[in-house]
Structures are given as structure tokens and as C-alpha cells.
Symmetry: C2
Subunit: 358 residues, 2 copies
DNA sequence: CGCTTGTGATCGAACGTTTTATCGGATATG
DNA sequence: CATATCCGATAAAACGTTCGATCACAAGCG
């Protein structure tokens, strides 16, 4: 075995020797650090030449070991499987985060999903300055663990923390967005609306928030909403046939994210249900995706790119010792009305509208 | 200012002191390193207890500095802007890469696009064991630069290197995929096919390869193909109106990737051109995207996920000192025929087909 | 007894930086 | 002339690991 694996071409010491100066001088000239170290212009030039000749490249590990800063932040999100299955939501998230990070000379490391506490400690192994955590669970143990660590953390699309100022949170106004959906559908004349979730939604803060918002909004309109109005949509098993059988039927479906809505659309097409004539469909996220579906998909727009940018900037501020002015950022959602929503079947103009369905 | 920023809760030395043993012993027990270091079971337990009590977490920087290994690999790809504009291609790439990496306990760092040589040297700053480079240019200087660095590199979707065994290459059979498109369209009766590219395609190896493949395939069918059959599609400026004016008109368009094809589809819909009756459209990549477009998009399927997995595994092998059996991996493409291709207008059955167009 | 082998353990030298403390000497200040 | 200040520069101590060298001691073997 090699006794010592040479890490790189040349070191600061070699440059210093070649230039006939001290290591400190070389460090000062090449990296500009060191307050008390002063070096004349002539020697500076000599050092720079020596560095170029030796193809010197500084070792970031050694520097980080000394300075306790790595200029690297981590991103924790869902399992890749779900990310590549879903629509463009995560791509925009990545775009926003990396945009801010790169322009401020930070690197981005993608981390595998970490559910347990133990691995959280492993996060603070010195390689990261901070972490953006998507859908971070609101667990006091987690906060406790982070408080013992120099690692900074910002939560993105996570439930509001029970400890208000433990870490910054960036979310969107799920409730407000959902309220707009209900408002839109109700004004079109819909009374029974199905809420579509996918498997494992219980552990997804956003899904829970949207369901709650939906319940509240329906309630505000005096419309009934119970467990029979919720369906766990399975990509594999078509469920629209079953939907047809319910009585009185739901005239609209709201899916908690675009991916499910898209699946509902293609399922409807294959079963022969016309959207929006027979059934209105609404999604959530409103990425580019919605523009190319069969009837273009009406959906709530979540400003995920801006949210990601905000989270990244918040984290950088924290890492660099600046205290953010606010620890809670909620972004408003808007409704993009496209072609997948319309009046329910047998709709009558509001003036002659009677309470019971004919 | 703080003179010394404490990096973390506790160090190996503190654990060793608490347990009353040497640092080497603690290192051996907690990390299993050190060949000659032996420690009895009783003391091992004492050390483990001390570590737990002190919330010890090893410093990866110090370890990497010593071992010259970081268990981290970098991913160089296009600017994020293009990534989030495009279809799911990059998501699947990321999925494949991270899948392999994570399960073998490697981390993934996303790097900003690096066009210059100088920053390439900065890559080998000790933080990375290797790099997966998408659309890596075939530049001898680059190879030269990498040969001076301990960094391993694997090229993904890049042109075959002029130095065959300098680094492993993973690509798909662009020519073969395009040949299938031409075969498909010609068998449907098309004779004039427009090739759609987007701005800056000249620097994209895949785009160039597909254009070449297209030229060859058209030639093999005895069909003319010249500069008037190539169009630079601009997302902003609709071009289908112009297309209508050409005489004789192209009856089919092949776009070098799905994103452009999708834009053509929505443009066609807004201008009133029916696909596939008036115009056939074919894309390349065939991600999930193609299933939800207005007519479902016929496209060449590129096994990007498998390609990404292969590239990642190749790189890990290289990093861990194993020599890959092959340095060139080309994946076959298949044609997914969907609803956006059909016979050209005024098509007559082959039996009465005459050479000239009526 | 002399020699090898094996066990359990420690010491201390790297790894490549940053940064504080220090040091001649020149120059300015009292 | 004594003393403070500044300039140019260096030595050396960290930072937290890994790992080769070493050591004491016991046992096995001829």
C-alpha cells in the first residue's frame, strides 16, 4: 500500500520554499488572510509566480479544519424516487436554492433523507455550514440536537415550529391557496368536492395543512365535508370507476399536488370521463407541467422558487453571523385558472338556483 | 472576534481522556481504523460509553485531510436555468446518480457550471473524490489538467474523447435513436422532415450527434436534407406560421429534445394546426412528460437513469482503485410511438405511391 | 536460555492550512 | 538619547484525525 496518498500537486509549503519565503507570507499573498502578516510587493509577485509554476491549488479541507467554515450547505429533501416521480416542483426548488448559493460562492450538497436522530448528529461532522431541510418534522429532539451543533438550519415547507425562534421557517400559505380553490369551485356551482391525497400523506406537513385548509374553507361555505370526501389516490389502481358509482357524485376533485391531478386527468381520458364537462379537476403547485396536460390544469401556484431563494439567503445570513429580521416567512399562493374547471353537469344559472339538486 | 471557533461538541481526544485511554485506542474502537492498534473488549465498551456521553461526532474534515478521501463526488451539469426549463431529463439523471451514490455511502455535491480551465484546477481542492461531468467538452487541455490531479472523472452524455482511455464515457446511441425516428416517419410516408434545435446547440454534443445521425439516416433513405431543413426554435418567437409558408411544406418535425417538441405542440394548438393530421411531431428523451401532452408525444427514449447509474458506479470503481472493464458505454435508444405521429396529409397507400408529390 | 510470535496499548509524526506571537530594524516622536 | 510606532517577515501552535513505530510483557518453541 502507499504509505501516504499525496492529496494534490503542491502545497503552500512547497510554494513558499520555491519562492524563498515563509509559509505565512505565501498564505497571505495567495489567499489574503492573516491580519498581522505583511509582505512587500516584489516578494508577492515572486510568490505568485512560484504558485503558478507549481500549479498550486489550496487544500480546502485543511483550511476548513482551521477556520471551521466550509462554504457548503446541505439540502435534505424527500427520497429521490418521489422527486423524479413528481412534477417540476423540486426542480424549481433546486434552481432557487442553487442560484442564491452559487452566486455567493457556496456549494450545495444533496443529502439522503435522514429520518432518525442519530444520523442528524452525523450531519455536523464539519463538512457543512448549514442545512436546508424540506418537510422537516416538528420534533423537539431535533431542535435539541441542533442546539448542540454549530450547524445552522432553515426549514422549508415544514410545519411551523413549536419553538418559534429555534430556526427560520419558510412556507407558503397553504390554507389561503386552498381557500381560493374552494371559492373558485363553489362559485362555479360545485357542492361536493373530492380531496385526493396519495399514500403516506399523513407525514407530509403540506398535505396535512392543505387538507385542514380545505375543511375550514368548505365549512365557511356551509358545505359538508367528511371522511367519505377524501380519497387516497393510488397511481397503480384506477379509482375513477369507483368514483362514478358514488351517489350523489362529486362534481370536482382537488388533488393536493399536480402529479396526482395529472394522473387523474389521464385516467379520466382513458375511462371516457370528460374534463371539465363531467368533472372538474384542480391541482397544486402549478408548474410548467400544467400547461401541457390534456385540458390545461387549473392549479394553485406556489412560489417555490422564491421560497427556495429566501430559505437559502436566510441560511447564508445565519451562517455568516447575521440575525435574520424574521424567523417566519409565509408566501401567498395564487390560483391559476386554466381549462380543467367548469360548471358541474346540469348546472343552472344562479338566479334560478334551488338548494336541492334536481 | 472569537479566536478559535469550536467546530463541534467533542473531539476524539476528549473522549480518550474521559475513558482514560490513548487517542489511538479511541480511534480504533470508534472508527475501526488503524491496523496495529489493538484494544480489549472491556476498554472498548468504556470508550463507547464515553463517546456517547460526550455526544462525540467525528470530524470528517480532519479524517479526509489525513486519508485523502472524502466520500463525496461532484456533479457538473448545465446552468440551472436550463435545467428547470427543460423536461424531466435532469431529474432522472439526478435520481440515478444519487441512488447509486447514496447506497454506497457517498455524498453528492452539485457544482456550478465551470467553463474555464483555471476553475477546473480549483476542483481538486481535496473536497471531492471524483466528478461526473455532463456534456464535458472534448478538450485535450482538460485531460491534461485532470492528469495532474488526483480527481477521477467520468463523462456523461459527452462526445467520445479523442484520447480513448483518458476517462470513462457514458452516452446513448444518438445516431441509432434518430435513425429509428427517420425510419418511423418515412414508413408513414413523410419525405420532408424539419429538424428543430434551440439556441446554442452547437456547443451541445448530443444535439450535434443527433443532427449528424439525422443527416446520415435521411441520406440512407435517399431523401434530401439541407440547411433549409434545420430551424433554430425560439421559445419566445412562434415559428409555425413561417413553417406554413414554405413550399413544399415539411410534413413532420423532429425536435432534438422533448422540451422543444412540447413547445411546438402548444404553438401548433394555438395557431390551429392539427397534430398529427396536419403535422407529425417527434421528440427525444421520452420522459413522463410525453404522456401528458396534448397529443401524447412520440419520442425516442433515452435510458438516462441507467446511464446515470452506470456513470456513478464507474466513478466509484475508479475512486476505489478498481479499473473498469470498459471505458466506453453506449446505451441503445428505443422509439416510443404515441399519438403525435401519423401519415402526412394527402397520403396514398404505398401500392399506388408515385415518386413525385402530387 | 535465546528467539520468535502475539497481544494490548501508547507516542508522536504527519495532513495543509490559518493565525497569533514575536522579532529585528527603520523611522518618527518626545 | 530614549521610546514608541510601524514595516516586513518568520516561527510555531493549533485544527482533529490516522497510522507507522515502538514498547512491555507473556507465551511458545527449539
Amino acid at each position: 500500500m502507499e504509505s501516504t496518498a499525496r492529496s494534490n500537486g503542491s502545497t503552500l509549503r512547497e510554494v513558499a520554499e520555491a519562492a524563498g519565503v515563509s509559509i505565512a507570507a505565501a498564505s497571505k499573498v495567495l489567499h489574503g488572510r492573516g491580519k498581522n502578516v505583511r509582505v512587500s510587493v516584489v516578494r508577492a509577485e515572486i510568490i505568485r509566480e512560484a504558485a503558478e509554476k507549481l500549479r498550486y491549488s489550496p487544500n480546502a479541507l485543511a483550511r476548513s479544519l482551521r477556520t471551521c467554515r466550509t462554504q457548503t450547505i446541505g439540502l435534505i429533501w424527500e427520497q429521490m424516487q418521489r422527486i423524479s416521480d413528481g412534477p417540476l416542483y423540486y426542480v424549481h426548488l433546486l434552481d432557487g436554492v442553487s442560484q442564491i448559493l452559487f452566486q455567493q460562492h457556496y456549494r450545495l450538497t444533496i443529502l439522503p433523507e435522514i429520518p432518525e436522530i442519530q444520523p442528524v448528529r452525523a450531519l455536523s461532522d464539519g463538512r457543512l455550514d448549514g442545512v436546508i431541510w424540506c418537510k422537516m418534522p416538528d420534533d423537539p429532539c431535533l431542535v435539541e440536537e441542533f442546539s448542540h451543533s454549530p450547524l445552522k438550519v432553515v426549514a422549508l415547507n415544514s410545519p411551523a415550529s413549536s419553538q418559534p425562534n429555534a430556526y427560520p421557517c419558510v412556507t407558503c400559505d397553504n390554507e389561503g391557496g386552498v381557500a381560493q380553490v374552494v371559492e373558485h369551485l363553489v362559485s362555479l356551482g360545485h357542492k361536493r368536492i373530492l380531496f385526493a391525497l396519495d399514500e403516506g400523506w399523513q407525514t407530509t406537513p403540506d398535505a396535512v395543512a392543505r387538507l385542514n385548509g380545505f375543511r375550514i374553507a368548505m365549512d365557511a361555505h356551509g358545505l359538508p365535508f367528511g371522511s367519505e370526501d377524501i380519497v387516497e389516490w393510488d397511481i397503480k389502481a384506477p379509482a375513477l370507476a369507483a368514483w362514478k358509482a358514488t351517489n350523489p357524485p362529486h362534481t370536482a376533485i382537488f388533488a393536493w399536488h399536480d402529479g396526482i391531478a395529472a394522473n387523474i386527468l389521464s385516467e379520466a381520458a382513458s375511462v371516457g370521463i370528460r374534463v371539465p364537462q363531467d368533472l372538474s379537476v384542480v391541482g397544486f403547485d402549478s408548474t410548467m407541467f400544467c400547461e401541457t396536460t390534456k385540458p390545461r390544469l387549473t392549479a394553485v401556484r406556489q412560489p417555490i422558487r422564491e421560497m427556495a431563494e429566501t430559505a437559502a439567503q436566510l441560511l447564508i445570513d445565519l451562517v455568516e453571523g447575521r440575525t435574520p429580521s424574521s424567523f417566519f416567512h409565509s408566501f401567498p399562493c395564487t390560483l391559476d385558472v386554466r381549462d380543467s374547471t367548469s360548471h358541474p353537469p346540469h348546472y343552472q344559472a344562479p338566479s334560478t338556483q334551488s338548494r336541492g339538486n334536481s
